[in-house]
Symmetry: C2
Subunit: 417 residues, 2 copies
């Protein structure tokens, strides 16, 4: 007998019919002799509908009241999924975040889990019940209802798996597992049997939507054995774990991309000590997340800097940089959009110095110019113009021996919560 | 400065627009220098929509999971109403049942309030905030989410008013107050300025939908000063209190009716001691609520009994009576539908013996035959055929001097939760 945490996203429980299929799947696990803790997201478009309702009232709802509003979505899901399981003749009990003992800090809309007191869950499991927990939500010490922000239900599942010492944490989604790259672009993309936490973390950060980075971080921290698999098929899925076997000795595990990237360049900056800190402190004070930062060489006592931010934050970032003029001398601030960050990820890279060079070579052969580069031990990211995305990804996929003979069927929209 | 509890039903908050009007109304109260605790129901048809969702999954959902499902309706309302108040520039904070300290027993779907610990409410009021509480819900000692059943939000409001020692508990609805009878039947029905708890309790029990009997009971028990008034107008409303002044010395305050009534007759019952107990114990064991019970005289050692039940329980009640044949001898069980129970209510009745006689007289003049009669100190109920309802009510209204010169505007559907 193993203890499974199984997480189902919004599209997996998007209708009564899908809910019943998910229930069937859970009951099969139970009948195979296992204990089950289920984590569910809000049904289909529920969250968007609730957000729309709030927008009819105010453009700037308080974060506390938004949490109060949005957590109802998952509460509806747990009730209906429990009913679906009961309808199949099995005992089930649903819990909201506070009932499940999900304790968070008080950061409404982006709370972090502090600890989990799974007493009620364990008691229900001991009584032979299937436990259904609302994802994405918790309560603060003051008894306030909080939400975990994007990827919250993935994080709930992994954190719960750690708290109840689950043997497996299965993330059910609308794809078969983690792929070598986006199968919508590369039809012969390869489903990975295994991937390490670090690689998955890089892929998730770099744009692979299948798992949220916070959930992967949590899984790595607590060594939770993660499985990403399809809600709709019985295919094996991808195991995410500490050490993953690289199948054919290849150094690159996967290719990710992220279109939500804008480049900002500060040109002709007077080369003084602490100049860089002045820019980036100002940005940090305004909670602007900066990703890649590149400094060119100094020429005639002046340097150029470039960095990337998300598209939404670009205008504000430019404004903040302009406002530093009183402290720093520079010629000009420019910004650029219609970019994409393409990244190759693989734990084998560190011992294989030719990997990055090959990437630059492949990209240049596609006539795309590389705007920015960033590297770590297990990834190389290049920012290029978006119009080159498809050719570049296809070429990289082939160059790193990731192509398979099989064509991937690409399903519906991604579960994104 | 007074402390008000204000309760708004589902149709009062049925859309973002109505929500904003309600918020406006609350803010006016606040600006007049008062403290406000608001109780809200689920928006418009939300509850029915949630029930429909559950029906797509199962015909027999567990009561616990239904409570988990339905309580989300009020949670959405409190979040949106708080946002609406904040949008008007005032501080507001929403609470679910458990956050508001609503402690109930564990009777899912029909829980009774055990006690209220309004610490968080008081703290928020002291901080100058408008408090918005989800009606209809609470939690048991075991931390289970419960609902109070029909009329739950009225009951929440009255119980909260008692717990926070409110100066007034205002029930906002889609009518102007409590009327002498249903204004949809009698267009010159009179809005009552005052009514006693006992009279309101009888009217509520006898079919007046404006307030739920449990809420009135609670108000009487804790002497909560109740006001029933319109969400849509600034009219005065009806005060419900211990002693109500009868305006023109009339003995009848109001006329109620209830179409949800079926008559069951057991004919030719062998007259033995304890026979009646056998029938009604059997019915009670099956949780069938019996209303009026009438026994005819004994003829040749045989008697006839009649009693009323709700339409939904009629078939089951007949079956239960049939099953007592092994213990009791009787000739036949019959049942009758298309009936209505018409009741006159008034505290002045007890000292005025002609009141019941006048009722029988008025009904017989309308050619309607009286099937069953039941009386108490402050009411007389007669069961008649439904086809006579309108004429009988109109005639009674005139006979007891309740007609006014004004014609009542009758609004939309009733708030029923």
């Amino acid at each position: 007998m193993s203890l499974y945490v199984m997480k189902f996203g919004g599209s997996s429980v998007g209708s009564a019919e899908r809910m019943q299929k998910v229930a069937q799947r859970i009951v099969e696990k139970k009948l195979a002799g296992h204990q089950c803790v289920i984590v569910v997201s809000a049904m289909g478009d529920t969250t968007d509908e609730l957000i729309d309702l709030s927008k009819q009232i105010t453009d700037r709802p308080s974060a506390r009241e938004m949490d109060m509003l949005l957590t109802t979505g998952e509460q509806v899901s747990v009730a209906l999924l429990s009913m679906s399981i009961q309808q199949l003749g099995h005992e089930a009990v649903s819990f909201t975040g506070w009932q499940a003992g999900m304790r968070t800090d008080d950061g409404h809309g982006r709370a972090r889990i502090k600890d989990i007191k799974p007493d009620r869950i364990m008691k229900a499991l001991d009584a032979g019940k299937i436990v259904v927990v609302a994802g994405f939500q918790g309560t603060s010490d003051e008894g306030e209802i909080t939400t975990l922000g994007r990827g919250g239900s993935d994080t709930t599942a992994v954190a719960l798996a750690a708290a109840v010492k689950a043997d497996f944490c299965e993330i059910y989604t609308d794809v078969d597992g983690v792929y070598s790259t986006d199968p919508r672009i590369v039809r012969c993309a390869k489903k990975l049997d295994e991937i390490s936490y670090d690689e998955m973390l890089e892929l998730a950060h770099l744009g692979a939507a299948v798992l949220h980075p916070r959930a992967v971080e949590y899984a790595k921290q607590y060594q939770v054995p993660l499985v990403v698999r399809s809600s709709f098929t019985n295919n094996e899925g991808t195991y995410v774990k500490e050490e993953a076997v690289m199948e054919n000795g290849a150094s690159v595990r996967g290719i990710a991309y992220d279109k939500n990237v804008a480049r900002i360049s500060i040109l002709g900056v007077e080369d003084q000590p602490g100049v860089l800190a002045k820019f980036f402190n100002a940005l940090a004070e305004h909670h602007i997340n900066v990703d890649i930062i590149v400094q060119s060489g100094v020429l005639n006592g002046k340097a150029d800097f470039s960095f990337t931010v998300t598209l939404e934050e670009m205008d504000r970032a430019v404004e903040i940089v302009e406002n530093t003029r009183s402290e720093v001398n520079f010629d000009e601030v420019t910004s650029e959009t219609n970019l994409v960050k393409v990244s190759i990820v693989g734990a084998g890279m560190v011992s294989n110095p030719g990997v990055a060079a090959k990437m630059f070579d492949v990209i240049s052969k596609q006539q795309a110019s590389i705007k920015l580069v960033s590297t770590s031990e297990i990834k190389v990211s290049c920012v290029i113009e978006q119009s080159y995305l498809t050719e570049v990804i296809l070429a990289l996929h082939t160059a790193y021996d990731l192509d398979t003979n099989q064509t991937v069927f690409v399903g519906g929209p991604k579960d994104r919560r």
